[in-house]
């Protein structure tokens, strides 16, 4: 945990830690404890009166049809983005690991979307699917599909799924490629000599050896969809049409910041906090396994 040889100036250690700890306490731990506290209070929007209501706010959100709808939207969104993003990235990584010629160029051309902000990814696909100028909306129109994500909830959902997946493929790709390159060639060669076809080698050797990376990416992708896609939803659909793309984080923002339902928003924050804690815990367990297996 620390060096055998340590310096004896204790006061200096506190001094070195001070900036990080000060920021953590003021901007992380204090506001989080405020969220916990507010989640058991009921406050009017002007802050004139507050009363302790215990778990009432939680009961209120968990029995609220709009909240449960947001839960379902978030689950569908996470499942779609995580599955398609991981499947596409794995396919591309396997191919990139196979080719010799142009491998570096392919890698470069596949990793840059990582740098694009989610909101901008949303804007790019908003362009592609725009009902009047979008090239894809126009092509779909030619085969008889009317595309208008401002009116059609399913199409709006599809739009945010495509944008979120598009942005996340690069990230998954980098990790899968690193995972593939860590698999010893001798294993695959031995299997090939024993007559295993490429498909058999993939499903019997490569895929199981990649499973720690896959599990890790599932957790990271779920965290990404829960929190980082706020920009896509806020910039492109604003949670609509109706509530059809209102994910949980967007609802916390809207209820707290625009509708000024402080207790309800705080209770939603606490629910999300529990989700993050569970996912972080899960992620650390996976990392331990990753170290052991890979």
């Amino acid at each position: 945990m620390h060096k055998r040889n340590t310096f004896s100036e204790r006061w200096l250690a506190y001094f070195l830690l001070a900036p990080q700890l000060a920021i953590t306490l003021v901007f992380f731990i204090w506001p989080a404890s405020q969220a916990l506290w507010q989640s058991v209070l009921e406050e009017d929007p002007f802050g004139l009166s507050t009363r302790f209501v215990g778990l009432e706010n939680f009961g209120r959100i968990l029995s609220n049809e709009h909240y449960l709808h947001a839960v379902r939207v978030t689950l569908v969104f996470s499942a779609a983005v995580t599955t398609s993003g991981i499947a596409i990235a794995l396919l591309l990584a396997v191919m990139a690991d196979h080719v010799v010629r142009g491998a570096r160029l392919y890698r470069t051309l596949l990793i840059w979307p990582y740098a694009v902000a989610p909101a901008i990814a949303g804007l790019l696909w908003f362009f592609m699917f725009h009902p009047t100028v979008g090239i894809l909306a126009w092509l779909l129109g030619r085969i008889g599909i009317v595309w208008n994500h401002e009116l059609n909830g399913a199409q709006a959902m599809l739009l945010v799924i495509v944008a979120a997946t598009w942005k996340q493929i690069s990230y998954n790709f980098i990790f899968f490629l690193a995972g593939l390159q860590a698999i010893p060639r001798t294993l695959l060669e031995a299997a090939a000599i024993d007559g295993a076809s490429p498909a058999q080698r993939f499903w019997k050797i490569v895929f199981p050896l990649l499973s720690p990376t896959t599990f890790f990416l599932v957790v990271v992708n779920v965290v990404y969809v829960f929190f980082d896609t706020f920009g896509i939803v806020h910039a492109v659909t604003e949670g609509g049409p109706g509530q059809d793309t209102t994910i949980l984080v967007y609802k916390v923002f809207k209820d707290g910041f625009i509708a000024l339902d402080l207790g309800g928003s705080a209770a939603q924050s606490v629910v999300l906090l529990l989700v993050v804690i569970a996912l972080t815990f899960f992620q650390f367990r996976l990392v331990e396994r990753r170290v052991r297996y890979a």
Binding site: H2, K3, N5, F7, R10, L12, A13, Y14, L16, L17, Q20, L21, I23, T24, F27, F28, I29, P31, A32, Q34, A35, I88, L91, M95, A96, H98, V99, T108, L109, I111, Y114, A115, V116, A117, A119, G122, L123, L124, F127, M128, H130, I135, W138, W166, S170, I174, F175, F226, G231, H234, A235, V252, F257, L262, S265, A266, S269, L272, L273, V276
Partner: protein, 282 residues
């Protein structure tokens, strides 16, 4: 490659090319749109090749901005984004290195408590504490300021862990040698640890620059004055503005400008980027 299979190799190339094209397609459309006249991009199908108004469009948005979006000139927003990205990247690296140095090279009461306090920040993203964090920033009078835009984001558990891991691999002999030569902790940090950390700093810089540039929710919460708007948070206003006046050619130019710096950093610093990403997550 384990054996020669020309057919499979051909399939691999085809798949990769398809992947590259699909990833690049939206950027291509936006890039060519940003060089058109307004009247050429009012209805589909829009041109798939460059127009001749690139220079004018980019100058218009950089100096004047997009009508109806009320964000001010894009040049100003890019400057704000740059300030934010650099301050967050260097700020995180600086305070994380100092904290990692403290927990690895010193023994003092409360060491584990400090370590766990930093660890907890991993579980508290802005998104789960939106309102109370806004209140803290407002009470400190930091709304609409560069300090408010950057300082609350520079605590970093990930960067602290990364430097801690790295410092633990630095041989003990360095510390002994420094002590024999009479160097105190700060000299040791500055002349030995900092130069040894160069690669880690570069790798982390790429990731953190992108993180800072791409911040969305935070500037949205704490800025109401357009002098402090960042380019990424202005995207929603641009999307809304297209409802009133369909200036798609200008919106496309802003989108290109918003992507350019982080994409350039990734491409130019690709080696460090992959290292930073894969190791940062361990």
């Amino acid at each position: 490659m384990v054996e020669r299979r020309p057919f499979f190799t051909a399939v691999a190339h085809a798949t990769l090319i398809l992947g590259v094209v699909v990833l690049a397609l939206p950027i291509w459309i936006v890039l060519v749109t940003s060089t058109q006249r307004m009247e050429d991009v009012l209805s589909a199908p829009i041109p798939m090749w460059f127009g001749d108004r690139g220079l004018e469009n980019y100058t218009t948005v950089l100096v004047g901005g997009v009508q109806g979006s009320q964000t001010g000139p894009v040049g100003r927003m890019m400057l704000n984004s740059l300030v934010m990205a650099l301050a967050i990247a260097f700020g995180k690296i600086a305070i994380s290195m100092l904290s990692a140095f403290a927990v690895v090279y010193f023994r003092f009461p409360g060491r584990m408590l400090a370590f766990w306090t930093i660890f907890v920040t991993l579980m508290l993203p802005v998104e789960v504490r939106i309102l109370p964090t806004f209140e803290v920033v407002a009470n400190l009078g930091l709304l609409n300021s560069y300090v408010g835009l950057t300082v609350p984001l520079i605590a970093s558990a990930t960067a602290t862990f990364l430097f801690r891991q790295f410092f633990l691999t630095v041989p003990e002999e360095f510390t002994e040698a420094a002590r024999v030569d009479g160097a105190g902790p700060l000299r040791f940090f500055w002349w030995i640890l900092l130069p040894l950390s160069r690669t880690n700093i570069a790798a982390l810089f790429v990731i953190l620059f992108i993180y800072g540039w791409n911040q969305y929710l935070w500037p949205l919460l704490i800025t109401t004055d357009e002098r402090y708007y960042t380019i990424v948070m202005s995207i929603q206003r641009l999307v809304e503005a297209t409802d009133a006046a369909p200036e798609f050619h200008l919106v496309a130019a802003v989108a290109m400008l918003a992507m350019l710096p982080p994409v350039a950093v990734v491409l130019l610093m690709q080696r460090w980027f992959v290292k930073g990403l894969v190791e940062g997550e361990k």
